[in-house]
Every structure is written in C-alpha cells, then in structure tokens.
C-alpha cells in the first residue's frame, strides 16, 4: 500500500463549511493524486501533484484546491462544501520506478449535509 494514510477516514459536515483532507505517504513518491469515487462514475481525478508545490487540475477540479508543501503530504481542500461533494475520496501515489503503478490509500468518506 506504499504507506499511504488518509485523514480523517470519515467526516460529516454542513454545506458551506471548509473541509481539508490529508494524504500522507512514506515512500517519497514524486506523484500524488486525489480522486473521488461515486456510483456510476468510477474514479475521477480531482487534482494531482508532480512535485513539491507543483500541482495540476484533473477532470473534476471545480470547488477543490490542493497544496503540497512537503513530498509526503498532499492536502485537498473544499473551500465551501456542497452536497454534490459528498463522496468517497481516495489519495494515490505513483511508483517512481515504473511510473505506471498507482498505490491507493484507504479512502475518506465525506458527507455534506
């Protein structure tokens, strides 16, 4: 699992509140990703990072921001949570040696009321 942890694992929040999800890895992988998983959509890329302070948008980046100040941490922030952001969020890293295999964290279930 490449030593990926996500926190919190579960969160319930109210519409309009800011939320930050944290991803921490122990393998020093360069690339890190945030996905959301919803019924009928599979995994959709929100943002990804290709190094410290280097990030780029994915398919569904609206309403989300990210920061990567250290190699091991990648934060996902919902500036003002909406009910459409209720989802399961997965963090992933990419193996540096092959640049093909992604390792995923256990996921965070976020509910926005």
């Amino acid at each position: 699992d490449a030593g990926i942890t996500q926190s919190p694992r579960h969160k319930v929040t109210e519409t309009g509140t800011p939320v930050t999800l944290r991803c921490h890895q122990t393998e020093n992988h360069r690339y890190m990703y945030w996905y959301r998983q919803d019924p009928g959509h599979g995994l959709r890329l929100i943002h990804y990072s290709y190094g410290v302070k280097d990030t780029d948008k994915g398919e569904v980046s609206d309403g989300y921001s990210v920061s990567r100040s250290k190699t091991e941490d990648f934060l996902l922030t919902l500036e003002s949570a909406t009910s459409s952001q209720t989802s399961v969020y997965f963090c992933a890293t990419l193996a540096d040696s092959t640049l093909n295999e992604q390792f995923f964290g256990p996921g965070t279930r976020l509910t926005v009321l």
Binding site: D1, I4, R9, Y31, Y35, Q37, D38, P39, G40, H41, G42, L43, R44, L45, Y48, Y50, D56, G58, E59, S87, V88, F90, A92, L94, L99, N100, E101, Q102, F103, F104, G105, P106, G107, T108, R109
Partner: protein, 113 residues
C-alpha cells in the same frame, strides 16, 4: 477502508471458470493501460499493465489483451476463485508524459461457489 455502493455492470462466474472483463477506451493516443482490482472497503490495487505497442501480456492467472483497432481492452482471469470477487477498473494514460490516468466506470465480478 471505504467503498461505494456502485451500480455497476456485473459479471457472475462459477468458481473455477475463466472470467473475461471488458473495457473500451476513447483516446487513440493513449500509450499505457492498467487494470486495477478494488475489494469491498479498500482502495484499488494494481493487477497488470500493458503498453500500446503490445497486444497481449500475461501475469499470474491474468492476461490482458489490447485491441487498438477498436480501442478495446480485456482482462482474462483463469480459474476464477472466490478471492477474485471485486470491482475491476481499467485505466489509461491519454497524454504521454503527464501521468494523468483516466479510469473506467468498473465491472463487478461475482464468483459463485
């Protein structure tokens, strides 16, 4: 771990039979294809990959076939076991050098005893 109640196409296979899971992709420029397995309550796990210059690759009990003419990918699992029950995703990298993988919606495999 987390999972979602995905409303997915389902393939039901008798234990010991072979399974074939299919995936279509849309970008003819994709140069890399990967299959992932997601067990209930967990993040996806890498199974096998294939480059666009290949049409077949074999692993342990799994074979991936790539047909670039019709933009189709399949995963064959030999002698399917109860532990193979999971959701299977294909993913491709449509932009060489960016490592932004796009995932399919997934197929649920149920192994019948």
């Amino acid at each position: 771990g987390e999972s979602v109640g995905l409303h997915l196409p389902t393939l039901s296979v008798q234990e010991g039979d072979n399974s074939i899971i299919n995936c279509a992709y849309s970008n003819s420029a994709s140069d890399y294809f990967i299959w992932y397995k997601q067990e209930s309550g967990k993040g996806p796990q890498f199974i096998i990959d294939i480059r666009s210059n290949m049409d077949k690759r074999q692993g342990q009990r799994v074979t991936v076939l790539l047909n670039k003419t019709v933009k189709h990918l399949s995963l064959q699992i030999a002698a399917t076991q109860p532990g193979d029950s999971a959701v299977y995703f294909c993913a491709d990298n449509p932009s060489s050098g960016t490592y932004k993988y796009i995932f399919g919606t997934g197929t649920r495999l149920k192994v019948l005893a």
